[in-house]
């Protein structure tokens, strides 16, 4: 083997090694979010966490794929279903949990709760409780970035329900008109609380409608973290090039009810079960040739031990 060939082989091995490490990180982040939310369920049932709590179990690929593709200087505005976004942004799990427990050590000093996580140091401008209410604010953050010409963007996450609100359409129009560096990420989990997509939208191809404002828009499999990450990187590039906003529709599914007090009577259990077969965590693990996948992979570990340490992860051994 020539020296040149050896160098080439080393480089591809490095690349493969780097890719494996990266996927492990994605997997770890998703599992971490899932474990965190399972703990939330438990604490809510015990009455420790009160109020509205909206879980993103099943939608972890969105949190991890989108947030990982942004830089730390980009601004993030999101919804009330934002535990995953907050954790993926790097807000310590202790402060998120403390917030939900109403403590002064919470990331919003106990004033916000589950729906209003903030960390301006990480440019995380909050979970917003009014559907679509965060969109205009994100446009304003993008406007400031634009006026400063600093190369940053604002990313706004919202659901399919928000797409029906006037605030979405006002914001999409304004951002396209002013060519704002705004990344619009629609986390389409097919239900606006209990109303299915087809019963709230005359045209359910959301990406096509967004494109009508004159922005680049496309739909992505939101259960595939690698696809989400790839699409977000590409969309962020387009936004940074200065051609105005970009729209991503991430098709995903929540495995649990809308909130902790939702009897979930509007969905067919078989439908939920079908989507569970596309669990983003299992999907990635399978692709990484990780250990055989149980239905609830990885096996449940004691949640209390998880809660004790911030960095505790359930990294796969494979």
């Amino acid at each position: 083997m020539t020296a040149r060939k050896r160098a080439h082989a080393r480089r591809s091995a490095d690349r493969a090694g780097g890719r494996a490490a990266h996927r492990q990180e994605l997997l770890r982040d998703m599992v971490r979010i899932r474990r965190f939310e399972e703990l939330c369920v438990e604490l809510y049932s015990a009455g420790e966490i009160r109020g509205f709590v909206h879980l993103c179990i099943g939608e972890e690929a969105v949190s991890v794929g989108v947030l990982r593709a942004l830089t730390q200087d980009d601004a993030v505005v999101t919804t009330y279903r934002e535990h995953g976004h907050a954790l993926a942004r790097g807000i310590p799990a202790e402060t998120v949990l403390a917030e939900m427990l109403g403590r002064i050590t919470g990331c919003s000093r106990g004033r916000g709760g589950s729906m209003h996580l903030f960390d301006t140091g990480r440019r995380f401008y909050g979970g917003h409780g009014i559907v679509a209410g965060g969109l205009p604010v994100a446009a304003g953050l993008a406007l400031a970035d634009n006026l400063r010409d600093d190369g940053h963007l604002a990313c706004c996450l919202f659901g399919d329900g928000a797409f029906a609100e006037g605030e979405f359409h006002e914001t999409a129009n304004l951002a396209a008109l002013w060519e704002l560096p705004l990344l619009l990420v629609c986390e389409n989990n097919l239900y606006a609380m209990g109303t299915p997509l087809a019963r709230e939208h005359a045209q359910i191809d959301l990406a096509a409608r967004a494109a009508s404002y004159g922005m680049v828009a496309w739909a992505v499999d939101g259960m595939d973290v690698l696809a989400v990450e790839r699409a977000t990187r590409r969309a962020a590039e387009i936004v940074r090039e200065g051609h105005g906003p970009c729209f991503l529709e991430l098709r995903t599914y929540r495995f649990r009810a809308h909130s902790m007090y939702d009897p979930d009577l509007y969905r067919d259990k078989a439908e939920v079960e079908r989507w569970r077969h596309r669990d983003p965590i299992t999907t990635l693990a399978r692709r990484m040739h990780a250990r055989p996948c149980a239905r609830r992979w990885p096996p449940t570990t004691g949640s209390s031990s998880w809660a004790r340490t911030s960095d505790a992860t359930a990294a796969p051994s494979g």
Partner: protein, 298 residues
């Protein structure tokens, strides 16, 4: 930024010439999207800008109420003190120009209900000129209500006068017999009533609230303690209005100084009508203020 603030110069000419002077980056015409551009003002303020948003009239502000109430007024608290919103929102308020029911509201009392924002109502040219700079310097959102009938008032404020004090009400006329408490577009009517009362030997004090939130209790209560009688005049509807709040505070803090029930002169509880004589009848007028004072003074 706002609707028609740039090329048009503002629906009431308030921003005339600013586009030429400051350019399109700083003077921005917006689409007719109150929620989006007020929210964009909030976002820009969060990011460290000092935006002034003009909403053409208070009735259109209802389309942006979600942004004003749920975001501008709330984010600082809800984020545990992390997200300050140094935003100024200006809007036209009030009736009296035969603009009929959908363009004649006085909803500043509603806004004064909301913790987290400061609500200003300039009644004089000097206040209109000098409240803006301290409002911009305020780290929290400030909403300024400009009464439509005052846009044609003229005066010569000092061009570099001191920034107005945003915390205090002003005694516009000193008196001993009764306190007339008002603000904004009603101040002129109240001062006129005070002059007529003086001719009858009734020495009325006139308090201009200037800031509707936070209310300057000290000035209002101090005045009532001196005169022992109070008449509140404003263009809002009587039920649950700002005048109700003033009357309640007087009852709470100066009950034992009162020598007569607090009187209120408010708009009739109907949508504001179009026809001139009907509109006149629906709004507080000098005659109504005089009658209320005579009841109070007895």
């Amino acid at each position: 930024m706002g609707e028609d603030v740039g090329r048009y110069g503002g629906a009431f000419g308030v921003s005339l010439g600013l586009l030429d002077e400051f350019g399109p980056d700083r003077v921005r015409d917006t689409p007719l999207s109150e929620s989006a551009f007020v929210g964009a003002g909030i976002g820009a303020a969060i990011a460290g800008m000092r935006p002034i948003v003009e909403i053409m009239t208070v009735n259109f502000s209802l389309l942006a109420l979600d942004q004003i109430l749920n975001n501008a007024a709330t984010l600082l608290h809800m984020s545990g003190g992390q997200v300050a919103v140094p935003l100024v929102i200006r809007m036209t308020t009030g009736a009296g120009r035969q603009l009929a029911a959908q363009h004649s509201h006085s909803l500043e009392g509603w806004y004064a209900h909301i913790p987290g924002i400061r609500v200003l109502a300039p009644a004089t040219v000097a206040d209109a000129r000098h409240m803006l700079a301290p409002a911009l310097a305020d780290p929290d959102p400030v909403v300024i209500f400009e009464h439509g009938s005052l846009y044609n008032a003229s005066g010569s404020p000092e061009p570099d006068g001191a920034p107005a004090d945003l915390d205090s009400a002003a005694v516009r006329r000193s008196g001993t017999a009764v306190s007339l408490i008002t603000y904004g577009g009603s101040l002129g009517k109240v001062l006129e009533a005070a002059e007529r009362l003086a001719a009858d030997g009734i020495d009325a004090e006139v308090v201009d609230l200037r800031t509707l939130r936070p209310l300057d209790d000290d000035t209002v209560i101090g005045s009532v303690r001196r005169t022992h009688r109070a008449v509140v005049a404003d263009e809002g509807w009587r039920t649950g209005g700002i005048s109700a709040e003033i009357a309640a505070r007087i009852a709470e803090q100066a009950f034992y100084d009162l020598d007569a029930p607090v009187e209120r002169v408010c708009a009739a509880e109907v949508p504001v009508p179009y026809a001139h004589q009907l509109e006149e009848a629906a709004l507080p007028q000098v005659a109504g203020i005089l009658a209320a004072v005579r009841r109070a003074v007895g």
